[in-house]
């Protein structure tokens, strides 16, 4: 009943199998260690609060080891070439990919500091440019449209209290925009 889904298939036995096993076992080991903070029987439930997560952790570690052994066993057989395979490798354009990952994080960091009204339009324009869109007028128009829709629906219609910023200068601008909108 295993289906292909749209996840990119992996590769045959290689270094990644070790990395995956190490990650799962680290998670399991760390979680087991931390479960010591709440281990011990409870007055109304003998197995205690740690019983359930520890059972899950044991299963997780067991399946991770079985997965590793399964790959190890298959390593001797010739790898099947999968046309759809898209292993984790970057073919250049590393800077653009790094920016694709970092821009949303920067937006999430700036949002509570400079406020939604300033961070969002900047992010809309910047992210489109990062993804390679070079038609500046189209980028500006689309960003303005999306921002207007967001303002109209969330701020003006439903009064959703979106972040207004904690840095004084930006917070004042946000207050001005809010009072104008409402």
């Amino acid at each position: 009943m295993v289906t292909g889904f749209n996840n990119s298939p992996g590769t045959s036995f290689d270094g990644r199998a070790f990395v995956e096993l190490a990650l799962w076992l680290t998670l399991a080991g760390g979680a087991w260690y931390l479960s010591g903070d709440f281990a011990g029987p409870l007055p109304g439930y003998e197995p205690g609060a740690a019983a359930w997560p520890r059972f899950i952790i044991l299963l997780l570690a067991t399946v991770a080891i079985l997965q590793f052994l399964s790959k190890f066993r298959k390593a001797g057989t010739p790898a099947v070439v999968d046309e759809a395979a898209d292993p984790l490798r970057f073919r250049g354009a590393g800077l653009q990919i790094a920016a694709t990952f970092l821009a949303p994080l920067a937006y999430g960091w700036l949002l509570p500091r400079v406020g939604h009204f300033i961070a969002t339009p900047i992010f809309l324009i910047a992210f489109a440019l990062i993804l390679g869109e070079r038609r500046i007028r189209l980028v500006l128009l689309t960003s303005a449209f999306v921002f207007a829709v967001v303002l109209g629906i969330f701020s003006a219609l439903f009064y959703v209290p979106l972040p207004e910023g904690s840095w004084p200068f930006f917070a004042e601008i946000s207050h001005q925009i809010m009072s104008w909108l409402r």
Binding site: S35, A49, F101, L131
Partner: protein, 488 residues
Amino acid sequence: MLENFIHGFLLMVSDPFTMLLFFAGLFGGLVFGAFPGVNSLTLCAIILPFTASLTPSDGIMLFSVIYCSGTYAGAVTAILFNIPGSPENAPTCFDGYPMTQQGKASLAIGAAVTCSALGGMFSAVVMMFATPLVADVAVRAFGQAEIFALIFFGLTVAGTVGAKSVWKGWLSVLFGLFLASVGTDAAEGVPRYTFGSYYLRAGIHFIPVILGFFAVAEVLIQGQRIAEKLRVPPKVSVEFPSFLTFWRLRIAIVRSMLIGLFAGILPGIGGTLGSFLSYGEAVRWSRNRERFGKGEIEGVVAAETANNAASGGAMIPLLALGLPGGALTAMMLGVFQIHGMEPGPSIMMTSKDLVWVTFVAMFMANALIFVLGYVETKTTVHLLRIPFPLLAPAILVLSTIGAYSLRNLIVDVWVMYIAGIAAYFLRKWGYSTAGVVLGIILGYLGESAFVKTMKLYEYDLSIFLTRPISASLILLGLATMVYGMVRR
């Protein structure tokens, strides 16, 4: 029953404000459901305080209509962008998105429209006929042991679909179950893995995780493909599935209706497990199992019929017993409480107008989904024409607002982005993000059912194998695991 239906219908159409709310709910659910990043749950969370100024009947009717239209509309983003509008639509991605990549998006959306409407109308009719009876039978037959066994079975099915291998499928589900253990334990509320954080005591909210796992991860993956010049924009077609297609899938449709309705009726189970189970059964009974996950229309049909059939089913325990079946029905319970009302067995007598207006509205909403959905099939596929670099920032902004506006906590935005980056690697390495999400959603419920069973039967584990329904479900789950291993 017909008399009550006509009475409810007349009550609804005779009040212009109620009709206005009905259409607002219908379009609101369709719009919020069909935009990647926000969903019907976001809309309901936003408008919940506003329902205080509505009559209880209008408030419940509005939420039930949003529930129906939002559940359908979530399939559109699942099919077009691999971003399910709600967890119920996650299995729709399995085959819907590959169909889009093959230029068959309109066929997938057409199938989703038709089957959502069929599933929804079927469950609405069952709801009208048998709300008290069905709720009573379901609750009597399904104790905590059976709920646990059903969750176990559902998770074993989820472990065998969606990932590159059964090992990865099970690891995905187990990872989700582990994340669900963050917060407090189900027995006595002891904090677990909270690191002293007040926020983590409430557990990890599944909406930011879903937005991260699907919306953020998809943007990152497509962003990488754009950078590497590997992204091929999908072709747009406006072809609707033929009657013959649905006739060929009639057994799958009926089976999915029953599975969805059954899952919806059980408190806490809801459409998410229903659509996974339905998808799993479609794979199990199909003669073309190898086509699933690669763009098989039956996969879309199974998931979408079941999740909409669950919407009516979920209203049955809510109205008859006051037990919500999921996040949105829990909000409906909030609407009742805002007005100082408690749904329960007597509601059919004490608030007959409210109940019948809700039933009629849900039936009409599902009927209109068919009409509006047909138009939508011809129009929304054109969203694919929008260059992804212009669409992606909008998806991330809407996701950010969707995550933030649930509880007005910036930490939810961070959870979303961290989940997005984690999901990027999980997907790249062949794990099932849908499996993780199902683990998160059902983890606490499963633990709670297990703990209650253990307390009730004095820690006797054999109880799961001595009660017929629970034993059958446990054995089915084990058989699914063995079957998955043999077939890998």
